[in-house]
């Protein structure tokens, strides 16, 4: 009887309402933001469309990394593995089987998700640093393999058939939908009982199973979802790059971008990665587009400064400071409206 009561999680009812309400609110906000982006695409010129497409893909990439790294606490250095396999699956199905881009993108997502699920079995046995290095090794191994595999043209690379690539307006829409799917997934995960259990695993993976949470199962789901979302973003990147080589698609730079965006914006939050993606992409990547080395230098430096001095990331910092300012400015109003219960007299200090 006791165990049933425990596994039913007595807090569930209490949590369910506010959680779902907050999640619904966030989804509503997402729909509004999506409509705004749609309108922006209508009035904006070619520049907005191409910038927007890449930014959306980066938001999806960052959010996918955040779901794994921020919600589940598994720091992955293997983003390139999923970007690469998805892009290759897309290009190969489109060129060799004559598939259209939606079918190719679906193939990429399925392949990336499958790879993620397969890698989860060995990788999830590893903790912390080991997991990070394991994902890095998997990516480097895939890069080395594709560089020498004649089926995928070795280091010459592959390309998406240019006539099958959608136009600029459609690309913007595709990017927007991909970003909405990624952010939507993050919202659903964050404000649900699934997300609460995930948080429990992240905070203490020894205590969580004692509460009846299937640690491996939850992490497996998160890894597959994250891999599929990275695959989606990878499809957008493949369509915008058209032709690519293994060293570019399995590169460390995908991990660097995703990690920098998420950590700077705010790991483990939904808005943080979006803020980070916008800040890094507009603030650094496009400003220094002609100086890739300098851009990398700034990203590394900013990452170091943030992790050293603003460990939670920028978004939580902004939220905290705003709250602090508001509370400092208006204490009298609050007290006048609702008098707090008199605090118990503090015990003598000595």
């Amino acid at each position: 009887m006791v165990t049933t009561a425990l596994s039913r999680a007595p807090g569930r009812l209490a949590l369910a309402l506010p959680l779902q309400r907050r999640g619904a609110g966030a989804l509503g906000a997402l729909v509004v933001a999506g409509a705004a982006c749609l309108a922006l695409g209508d009035v904006g010129g070619a520049g907005v469309l191409s910038l927007g497409t890449t930014l959306f893909a980066y938001i999806a990439l960052a959010q996918a990394w955040n779901i794994l790294g921020g919600f589940s606490g598994q720091m992955s250095l293997g983003v390139g593995a999923f970007v690469g396999t998805s892009a290759y699956a897309m290009a190969l199905t489109m060129t060799r089987l004559g598939w259209s881009w939606p079918a190719g993108m679906a193939a990429g997502v399925v392949v990336a998700g499958t790879l993620s699920g397969l890698l989860a079995f060995p990788l999830l046995r590893l903790k912390g640093d080991y997991f990070a290095v394991g994902t890095l090794a998997a990516t480097m191994a895939l890069d080395a393999w594709f560089d020498n595999w004649s089926f995928v043209n070795k280091s010459t690379g592959v390309s998406v058939p240019i006539q099958a690539v959608p136009g600029q307006t459609e690309m913007y829409l595709i990017g927007l939908v991909v970003a909405l799917i990624a952010v939507g997934s993050a919202i659903v995960m964050r404000w649900s009982t699934f997300g609460v259990r995930l948080l429990a695993i992240r905070e203490d993976d020894l205590a969580a199973p004692l509460l009846g949470v299937n640690v491996f199962g939850y992490r497996l789901v998160v890894m597959v979802v994250s891999g599929m979302l990275i695959g989606l973003a990878g499809g957008v990147f493949a369509l915008s790059l058209v032709s690519f080589v293994p060293d570019a698609m399995f590169a460390m730079s995908w991990t660097i971008e995703a990690l920098v965006m998420v950590v700077i914006g705010g790991m483990g939050t939904v808005i943080g990665p979006i803020v980070g993606a916008v800040a890094v992409y507009y603030g650094i990547t496009t400003e220094l587009a002609n100086f890739p080395t300098l851009s990398l230098f700034f990203e590394g430096g900013l990452l170091l400064v943030v992790v050293r001095f603003v460990p939670g990331g920028l978004w939580p910092f902004v939220v905290r400071s705003t709250r602090w300012l508001l509370e400092r400015r208006g204490p009298t109003v609050r007290i006048a409206r609702a008098t707090p219960p008199p605090s118990p007299p503090s015990p003598p200090s000595s």
Partner: protein, 286 residues
């Protein structure tokens, strides 16, 4: 598969062991995979290159200077950066050292272009014949230095007072602190020593193989693979694992061609990490 390839592979493994010793030390003492370790190795090679350009010092004359600079850098790095990150939790350690790796790679590319270079030394082009096997002299020297470093480290850790202080700080920092050990100082000196070992490995790697700003990732992975196979903090294990890794690479190169050299290391690493996360030879000194 001829004997020359295999023997030179094993000798090159000595180089891997040398690169891995510093990583193993930091991993064992600070419980942190220093993702910037490869950058330290490559940085030492670039420092030697710069000393040659400025003062025309050969790599082996420059080596002592590079070692001192690297050790100072490691000390300051730990004092200013890593201690604070580690106090915030393991995630900050991963992100922080990853940021250092990104920063270092970008800095090298900006200062020295992204082309590959190598350190010039007469040693690199000399080979000796021993009983029908042609040995590259630089690899022989590297292997000898690796064995000397491993021996010195093992002796220092197990037989000296400083070594027991370090092991105490690694095993249980808070208790060590209560016993009057300045743990922060010990940690900083550990990173300094690791950086010095990385510098030795970096200069030898620069002479024997050559390097580019992006060499650090594969060096890091090789080092982690060697540490994992040999057991964290296990000095002898690290040396043996390094030699074995060199041999495995030589075998795969002669079987499948040079393109798969790195692939072998990564796959091997993956297999060992999954099958024996504590290493083939078990935990070592810590």
């Amino acid at each position: 598969m001829n004997a020359t390839t295999l023997v030179n592979g094993v000798l090159e493994g000595g180089l891997y062991a040398l690169v891995a010793l510093g990583l193993s030390l930091v991993f064992g003492v600070l419980r942190l995979i220093n993702l910037a370790h490869g950058v330290l190795v490559v940085g030492a090679a670039y420092a030697a290159l710069e000393l040659f350009d400025l003062l025309h010092l050969g790599p082996f004359v420059a080596l002592p200077i590079v070692i001192v600079v690297a050790a100072l850098f490691g000390y300051v790095l730990q004092r200013v950066m890593l201690t604070n990150l580690l106090l915030k939790g393991p995630e900050s350690g991963i992100v922080g050292t990853f940021a250092l790796a990104v920063l270092g790679e970008a800095a090298f590319a900006a200062a020295f272009t992204s082309n590959g270079v190598s350190l010039q030394s007469s040693l690199a082009t000399t080979s000796v014949k021993v009983g029908g096997v042609t040995l590259e002299l630089v690899l022989v020297v590297a292997c000898a230095i690796a064995i000397a470093c491993a021996g010195g480290l093992q002796f220092g850790l197990k037989r000296t007072r400083a070594g027991s202080v370090l092991r105490a700080a690694a095993k249980d920092p808070s208790t060590a602190e209560l016993m009057g050990i300045n743990v922060r100082l010990v940690f900083a000196l550990t990173v300094a020593l690791a950086a010095a070992l990385a510098a030795v490995g970096g200069v030898l790697y620069g002479v024997s193989t050559g390097f580019a700003p992006t060499s650090d990732t594969s060096l890091l992975l090789i080092a982690v693979a060697v540490v994992v196979v040999g057991g964290v903090g296990n000095v002898t294990g690290t040396l043996v694992a390094g030699l074995a890794m060199g041999l495995a690479q030589a075998v795969s190169v002669s079987l499948f061609g040079g393109g798969y050299a790195d692939f072998t290391i990564y796959v091997l690493f993956f297999v060992v990490l999954i099958a024996r996360p504590k290493g083939l030879f078990g935990q070592g000194a810590f």
